[in-house]
Symmetry: C2
Subunit: 239 residues, 2 copies
């Protein structure tokens, strides 16, 4: 029987951290830690899923492609989640692209190994299904939010979600990419971000952004941030 000292450091991923020791140990033995660079694509849109990923220190965007080259971010995944929900629900391909938006470490598990572990452990299935529900609620809120709330509010919401999933107060991000993810022009982001910066809520320069006043930012955001945040706290557990 392995003691806790043989398990290595506790995982920073909240889903893994909530598992019982023996389930966790089995998984940790099969994980491959991978360093994900910015913009790395983990899953292509409509392609077969070859592995699932549990973020430890990275941040992943789930992006739906529209024809005409447009794209839209529908969800953000960090330590509170995993990439590969379709596999969990019985599909072998992802309709959305998974792209790294914050470089860092993730724990990788091949599709076949993931299926074996899912078959073996009830608590793993239960935990991950509850996460799937939380993610569904995130996408649901995003659907309702898009087009109804002002760009400035949605930008504030995105900054808060990224802050929850990033390592510190700062992260690499350009207006160009934010524009793609929020489905607006780059110039629109420049204006909205400029307003938030003048208000002292954020700061940024050449591809780097940081949160300066988190309570103020929460006030500037639409209610969607809080709704999704509470859903995660309830279904996955508080950070």
């Amino acid at each position: 029987m392995p003691g806790p000292d043989q398990l290595g450091p506790a995982p920073r991923n909240r889903l893994l951290a909530s598992l019982p020791p023996d389930d966790l140990a089995r998984l940790l033995a099969r994980f491959e830690p991978v360093e994900l660079p910015l913009r790395r694509v983990l899953l292509g849109a409509d392609q077969e899923i070859d592995a699932v990923y549990f973020p430890e220190t990275c941040m992943i965007s789930m992006i739906a492609a529209l024809d005409g080259g447009d794209a839209a971010e529908v969800g953000l995944v960090g330590r509170e989640g995993m990439v590969g929900i379709p596999l969990l629900l019985g599909s072998d391909r992802s309709p959305t692209e998974a792209m790294c938006q914050g470089s860092g470490i993730a724990l990788r598990l091949s599709t076949s190994a993931f299926r074996e572990e899912m078959d073996r452990s009830l608590v793993l299935r239960t935990t991950l299904l509850r996460y799937a529900q939380a993610f569904l609620e995130q996408v649901t809120q995003t659907a309702a939010c898009n087009g109804r709330h002002l760009l400035e509010q949605r930008l504030a919401r995105w900054m808060l979600m990224a802050h929850d999933r990033a390592e510190g107060d700062a992260f690499q991000m350009t207006h160009e990419f934010l524009a793609m993810m929020l489905g607006v022009r780059r110039a629109g982001i420049s204006v909205a971000a400029g307003t938030l910066q003048k208000a002292g809520l954020i700061r940024y320069e050449r591809g780097r952004m940081l949160i300066a006043d988190r309570p103020g930012l929460e006030h500037a955001s639409c209610e969607c941030y809080g709704v999704v945040r509470r859903a995660y706290d309830r279904l996955v557990g508080p950070p």
Copy 2:
């Protein structure tokens, strides 16, 4: 051993129809058929789920409430699906409201009975989880679609989705309700619907709408309709 003649008519619900005979028989014995009138609310937003519903001839909207009294439809459920996904994923409450948009029959199963049957049957779990993935893809596409596609295209898309889930070419629907579901003004719907009617794609009068030219409507819609339709065909099976 009960023969097929004791099962009654085959269910029109596609999820139930795809189950093996013995699983189906067990469920049918516990279902309570209910007649759902227009605008009946099956699940309140953020309330506990007391039962799940499998539509036979009705059509249900899943609606996210926003503060300020706004609301937004994020999914539509008909014979291809069920109402009560959160229960399936391990949550006991629904973040969205479920409201009847097309009156008809649904098969009702209490939460406790549903949990028992889920524990008992692997094939039931598998089937319903695949549906949950299809529904997630619908919500995902809706999130991407909102705000990026023109109202006229989104309206065409909604008409097609409703057509797939309605009994015939016509259904009761007012501009007022369409406006709420698509998150626009009632006057906006009147203009867009007027355009579609002038083009000969739909017809309507005082709370009744009907599809007049389905291929034409598919052409007028954004690609989101086809994307979601194919996802359902792949994950739930063709109608």
